[in-house]
Amino acid sequence: MIKTISNLIVKMMPYKIAYAHCDIPCGIYDPHLAQLGAHTVLRMTQMLGEIKRENPPSHKASAGQSEIKAEHDVARMTHVKEEHGSLIEDELGTLENDYFKDEHFKQYPQLREIIADAVKLSAKTRQTIDMASAEELLEKVLQISEIFYKTKNLEPMRVKSPYPTEREIVVYK
């Protein structure tokens, strides 16, 4: 009980940031992989929703094989969805911890919340087959990408992606 209360107090107290810096600061950061991950999660969610499990009754002999193929496809698509969800979280973590600085968070006060929302949505899209969450995740990643380019003094713009998702990607002029 005392531990819970003290934990709560510590969580609410104001604090300064101390850095436990990782890696060599190479200065090479890009939101591209997070966007790629979000498109892939969206595509896998679409494809999982389109899997057909049954053959017509006249093809009973191959019905079992169809079922096995469907299970196989579900396993593969789920695996890819998991991997790319993880990629998004890694990439956003790198941007949040290594690239974005206090001045960026001050300049874009919504940034921290957008990143937190994106990470939560990434977890949700891994746990479910939910197109609305996948769409929302992509939107958050696009918003983060736009802020990223703005911090580089570049003008971001949304263009239609060449991917089967037929959604947008953020590039810069």
């Binding site: 940031i17 436990a20 810096h21």
Partner: protein
């Protein structure tokens, strides 16, 4: 800095201190003795506060490393740090 609550950003001190964890640092211990090997310290570097572990001491200068040595920016890159750069010792690590 008698006592200060710090939120940790980065993974270089894992598994001892994880990204997002909070720690309390204090300068009081170093009023009584010098920083010693294996102390986890907070120090100033380029206007930021960093935390690392003291790996060795050479002529009152400190070679610091992250516990996550494969993924840490530390004395191997920026060299030894001075006593005057050290702002305190981690005295409490909240593991949540």
């Amino acid at each position: 800095m008698l006592f200060s609550l710090l939120g940790i950003k980065g993974h270089s001190m894992e598994p001892t201190i994880k990204n997002g964890q909070k720690v309390i640092i204090s300068s009081i211990p170093y009023l009584f003795y010098k920083p010693k090997q294996n102390d986890i310290i907070a120090f100033r570097k380029n206007a930021n506060i960093l935390i690392k572990r003291i790996n060795k001491i050479e002529n009152d200068k400190y070679f610091v490393l992250g516990d996550n040595e494969d993924d840490s920016l530390d004395s191997r890159k920026f060299g030894l740090i001075d006593r005057k750069e050290i702002v305190g010792k981690i005295i409490l690590n909240f593991k949540f």
